[in-house]
């Protein structure tokens, strides 16, 4: 810290713009800059992460509301919350929502709110497939993919730019900036490496929770066999690597490591019962 200050003061002194400032001002300026440098290395706090996620989730719900099917909502929350207990952030306020949309898609928001569309849910066949999709989304939360992407998109450093003030959703221009960048990120998608990481780790998290490791690959096979021109897949295909490329990656890493696992049949009966209620 002291080193930063001395270096920054020295740097400030060498700038022509410093003419006319007294030593006190220079020290103060150097100190403020140093605080920012230190803050830049500080991660966004969990509370900030959750608050940004809240704003993003409310925006997504503006595009598609929740399904009114309470049984499906509860079922997805049970599966998701169970899977979340097998991550390294089991105490996040994980919550799940089924979106009233015929599109096939799923979304993660920072802090642990995860959505799956009704259209995708209706195209799944087992609880293991659902667990695989939710685990994939959880990795985006765990690895803070969206948080990093929106800070990059807005050239924003939430932790340092905030400098200790509360990130109030109503009045903080920084929050507005973050959420605007968030909209762009969700419309454009994450880097493909983030998606591959979510697949690679997602299968392990679902397996840890006792599910069939091949649930997520089966969903990718379903997407691979679906018509790529179908409008209900447009955003999913725009924002993700091709299903065949994702399968090839899983093909490489799964090899024979996942042969000994299968999901209990009890999960199939309740999956079918819960999904059958979706209209």
């Amino acid at each position: 810290m002291r080193h930063y200050k001395i270096m920054l003061i020295a740097a400030s002194l060498s700038l022509s713009g410093c003419a006319g400032m007294d030593a006190q001002q220079l020290i103060k300026m150097g100190g403020n800059m140093a605080d920012k440098v230190v803050a830049a290395n500080k991660p966004v706090s969990e509370a900030e992460e959750i608050q940004i996620g809240h704003g993003i989730a409310a925006n997504l719900l503006g595009a598609a509301p929740l399904s009114t099917n309470q049984r499906a909502q509860s079922y997805v929350n049970n599966v998701g919350r169970w899977v979340s207990l097998h991550t390294d952030r089991p105490n996040l306020p994980w919550q799940f929502g089924v979106l009233e949309s015929a599109d096939l898609n799923a979304f993660a928001t920072p802090g642990g709110t995860i959505f799956i569309t009704k259209g995708l849910l209706q195209h799944l066949h087992t609880e293991s497939e659902l667990a695989g999709v939710l685990a994939h989304e959880m990795v985006h939360v765990l690895s803070k993919h969206h948080l990093a992407a929106l800070q990059k998109a807005a050239n924003l450093n939430i932790a340092s730019d905030l400098a200790g003030q509360a990130l109030n959703a109503q009045n903080n221009p920084l929050m507005d900036k973050a959420l605007q960048a968030g909209k762009e990120v969700y419309a454009r998608g994450l880097d493909k490496d983030d998606e591959f990481e979510a697949d690679r780790k997602g299968i392990v998290i679902a397996t840890r929770a006792g599910y069939d490791p091949f649930g997520l690959p089966a969903v990718l096979q379903m997407l691979d066999s679906a018509n790529a021109q179908d409008s209900s897949l447009a955003l999913m295909f725009k924002t993700h690597p091709a299903p065949a490329a994702r399968l090839s990656l899983l093909d490489k890493i799964m090899a024979n490591n996942f042969d000994g696992y299968s999901a209990p049949t009890q999960t199939d009966a309740r999956f079918n019962a819960a999904i059958a209620t979706l209209k």
């Binding site: 925006n59 595009a63 599109d103 066949h125 379903m222 018509n227």
Partner: protein, 160 residues
Amino acid sequence: MKKVMVLLLLSCITLPAWADSIGYTVRATDIKQKPFSDASTLATLPEKSSVTIVQRMGGWVRISSGKGNGWVKMLNLRSSSTRKGDSGLQSLFNVGRSGSSGITVATGVRGLSSEDLQNAPANPAEYAKLAQFAVKANQAQQFAKKGKLQSQTLDFIPAQ
């Protein structure tokens, strides 16, 4: 073992995943009599063979092909479609969309296109509803117990 087999066979019946879709092999692939690596091999499909997928069970799919019927490893198959045009997946719930303009009328269900995501106003009231469906850790554990789910210990696999 016998019990496991029965369970597995039962689970076959309930898994009509992408049934009757067409796949092709991405490498030479053995057709197994049963969905196990050590089951007897009925035939070997060369790379780029076309197969009809009948059902999935774990990492295996049951197929029919010119070279015989049996089980192959799921990840030896791809099924990228060559069909064109809207296949009708998009059906009932886009009624709010007016005509071909893609404009969403205010009373209808909005869509999840890139434009929708960028333009939709926030819906904090809908967000508030999420909490009523959220499940506590102990409830989720009960749910898992009812489904006979058992936690496994497993490390992440490094990127290749």
